[in-house]
Symmetry: C2
Subunit: 198 residues, 2 copies
């Protein structure tokens, strides 16, 4: 398998983290293309949004969207619950991650750490305000449960860990959230865990 | 089952559309709460993002996020492919819908049709530009395939139809996309189809 990725991306890290848990071998290919036109040349037939991560299987079939890739790799393993309702709850948190978490926490991190141009303070404040709402929702859940969606580590934990563990780079104060901090440590202790920088 | 919803929302319509295909009975409950505090009073224990649609099952368990609700209701029916890769492809398009389509097409529609306050032309133009990229990605796919992810109507079609069929209300010119227009008609012809206004 070939993983088209940007190594600093939390979305790409999610896929590497599951691949490590599962002990699967793959080739990493860094996307250096910047413009939409350049990305189209590399990913045009592989990803509708021309984004990474994109996984190309050995038979040439391709899959985009980090959480869909996780599903493909994870289905049938212990990282996907056996119960139908629990599977839907897991997906609930993965859709939450892409809609209410990533657009604020990942974007604030990108602006502050990787973009290299001055950041508009009002725009950053807006992203951070919404990002805190996502962290608060996670904290409320983690006050009652060890993992997402319930008591066992699943794909939803991997999806949420991708950018939450790096949220300080986006200016977020994680010390407000003790249950979340304890969850970050539990995730790090899962067999096969690797850091984003691995 | 109780569906907490806003009847004009395309995200809520997705759930009603699948419930109609499946012939399932449920009670509709319109969310009239406007502020976050009011929404918290209704949805606080049910939806991490305090948003609709939120489905409450007969035993009281709740599920949020339109596409996760679709998954729960659809798993085991003909609306979810049997093949593991096809299931992941279906999810790919559903995550695409929530990340690259809904934030632009649904938001432009909301601003122009439902918000009732003046629209910032530059902000609208930016949403429309990105919305057109999503429509173009759909058109490229539909030039080769009848449905999403391939040749059979699935949850991904329901997810994408929710706001695409109403995109003109967001100022989008759909006549640029003949394959997409033909797909809209095919979806309308599926047994049990109901319009958003039903």
């Amino acid at each position: 398998m070939i993983l088209h990725e940007r190594s600093v991306s939390g979305n790409c890290y999610k896929v590497r983290l599951l691949l490590s848990h599962l002990g699967l071998r793959y080739e990493r290919r860094e996307l250096t293309a910047a413009s939409r036109q350049e990305r189209s040349a590399v990913l045009g037939d592989l990803s509708p949004s021309l984004r990474v991560p994109t996984l190309v299987l050995d038979d040439g079939r391709a899959l985009a969207e980090s959480n869909a890739i996780l599903w493909y790799l994870g289905e049938g393993t212990k990282y996907v619950p056996a119960d139908r309702f629990a599977r839907a709850q897991m997906l609930q948190w993965q859709f939450f991650e892409q809609y209410d978490h990533e657009p604020y926490i990942a974007v604030a991190r990108h602006w502050l750490r990787y973009r290299g141009t001055p950041v508009d303070p009002a725009a950053l404040a807006e992203r951070q305000e919404k990002g805190y709402l996502a962290l608060e929702a996670m904290e409320r859940h983690l006050e009652k449960h060890r993992y997402f969606p319930r008591e066992h580590y699943s794909l939803a934990d991997i999806s949420l860990y991708g950018y939450t563990h790096a949220a300080r780079e986006g200016g977020f104060d994680l010390d407000r959230y003790p249950a979340l901090l304890a969850w970050l440590e539990r995730v790090k202790g899962e067999p096969g865990h690797v850091p984003l920088s691995a």
